[in-house]
Symmetry: C2
């Protein structure tokens, strides 16, 4: 504990108080704070002792003014999945916990035609060190260009590596989905339905690619009537389930591009008395809380979102996180993993 938390006069101690106590100039104190290399071990020790004695905490507002930069990281998101956003926030906080940084959260509206103006105003006002873009807005190149233009560091989170590797943290959705579908095929499934994600989403495209890839490897194809549209929402899962399961020749397994839609398909199955997984296997994506809260628990793909948040902070502001935080730039793909639960089984024999 600090000896005292107030400077002379009952105020918070300032850099001047520290300088006076240590018998140096305030610039020297500043150098200590900012870890300048040009310092005698002796003076550094003296200053640090004074800092400790006074319980001095540098004023971020003053630093921000002088640096023309706020010690903040902005999180820009328009993500429909609350758990994803919050887990990501946790990951970022894990990483910046011992730094001087704080996290600014900014929900945006990707549909708004004022999106770019909004973000520009926000960034110009807050002047954060860097910004993090969560999908789906991470796929917006104009947004990235805007950050570049404003001199705000940025990092984009995606489901596959984007153009610029050093600005991108990604998972390997395509590969994991392919692996999951291979598993289905290995169990004997041949008629496998697919519920798509929303058009224009990179994540949706990646998942579809992985799905088709695994099918192709096994010499299978996706019949158009088993390819259902979706938008990552529960209601779309309901519709897809109605469409796929009302058929005379329903699929024996359905891959859904996220858990919410999988839950929808599962509800339809329940309603129709179709037993899962005995008569129908279902796989989702996200490993959202829903996946374990429904019955039977959903086999799904876990997106390492919290780890991605931490990694994002590490590549965004490595110079603020202390020496232990260095990461390999090549190491920006964090693998998603298949989580096997109770919604998958071999197909019923009905040849």
């Amino acid at each position: 504990m600090a000896a005292q938390t107030r400077g002379p006069g009952g105020r918070q101690p300032t850099i001047n108080d520290v300088a006076a106590l240590a018998g140096v100039s305030k610039k020297t104190v500043s150098r200590v704070i900012n870890r300048s290399e040009f310092l005698t071990e002796k003076t550094r020790a003296a200053v640090e002792k004074a800092i400790e004695q006074l319980g001095f905490v540098p004023n971020p507002q003053a630093r921000a003014l002088a640096f023309r930069r706020n010690f903040l990281i902005a999180l820009l998101h328009d993500n429909p999945n609350a758990q994803t956003v919050l887990n990501f926030q946790r990951g970022v906080l894990d990483a910046i916990k011992d730094s001087d940084l704080a996290l600014l959260v900014r929900p945006v509206d990707r549909g708004s035609d004022k999106l770019l103006d909004d973000v520009r105003t926000f960034l110009e006002k807050q002047r954060p060190i860097g910004a993090m873009l969560l999908p789906p807005i991470s796929e917006n190149d104009e947004l990235a260009a805007l950050c570049e233009d404003l001199g705000v560091r940025y990092v984009r989170i995606g489901s596959a590596p984007l153009d610029d590797a050093k600005h991108c943290i990604s998972s390997n959705d395509r590969e994991v989905v392919a692996a999951a579908v291979r598993g289905l095929i290995a169990l004997g499934h041949r008629r496998i339905g697919f519920v798509r994600g929303p058009a224009g989403f990179r994540s949706a495209a990646e998942r579809e690619k992985g799905f088709l890839e695994a099918l192709a490897e096994a010499g299978l194809t996706l019949p158009p009537e088993l390819n259902a549209p979706g938008n990552y929402r529960y209601a779309a899962g309901i519709e897809a389930g109605e469409a796929l399961l009302a058929r005379a020749d329903p699929p024996t397994a359905i891959f859904c591009s996220n858990d919410e839609m999988a839950a929808g398909v599962l509800s339809v199955a329940h309603g129709k008395g179709i037993k899962v997984p005995a008569e129908l296997s279902i796989i989702g994506f996200d490993d959202s809380p829903t996946a374990t809260h429904i019955w039977p628990a959903l086999s799904t793909v876990r997106w390492p979102i919290r780890e991605m948040g931490a990694r994002a902070a590490q590549i965004l502001v490595p110079d603020f996180l202390g020496p232990g935080a260095k990461v390999d730039d090549e190491d920006n793909v964090l693998p998603s993993t298949l989580v096997e639960r109770q919604s998958v089984a071999p197909p019923p024999d009905r040849l």
Copy 2:
């Protein structure tokens, strides 16, 4: 759109540029920015025109330094329910959208013995205008006292009014739960099980009060064997379901203190082949996404969390939100509402 976004020399325009262009002193410009009353309509117009022309945006860092206060609202939370936190964030953003404020998010660890120190350091550094405390940490009186001590405005979110009305936004959990249980009784249920929330949580206590209240009104009691412990987690719901539904004389209805636990009870029912709602009615609390993603969709209580976020901002920083944001101080109880879906029905006749 502004005529230009850069001042002389390619920098962002400052208050000096505005003053020069408008032919006034910078103090006058400052007065316009801060909505001083002592201004001629004419000078105000001239300044505003200059501001518009230059695309001037006041630098929040400089203002923060001068004001000794950052134009930020801090959201402190340690809430297990991601959707709740994110919806609350949305509500806050709804309210501060057109203000100069931004939202700082700070997850904390309520179990840590350093909680108070962490929050103190955070508030001293960031110097936000105010802080919002979400349950369960909103129930921590020391935290509120700390805010008071540091001169940080605060507002506590709770499931029932706390001591200090003007610092508290609350819902009426007790009343709504009582109403829900009355509904169960009206349908004919007499043996009604209860799955508790975690000990020491105000929300848990309120929900239990409401439950017992409704029972008492009808001359019923809660037999100890039908009163199951819980902690707001899915696994606790599973355990409670196992305990209650394995009995020879199971309840015909179960009220669960939140949706996650209700989902757990529902899973157990599915596993045992107990039909919901025909043989067992279930009610949850939260109206989380899970409530609609499980089958059958869960009757539950909707907590007006987004509205609470907006209201919290309104009572926290009314002076920053413009004239339209005034709210009645007495109006700080936002009613939760019963959402009736498919998990409730009359009890099976088995007399």
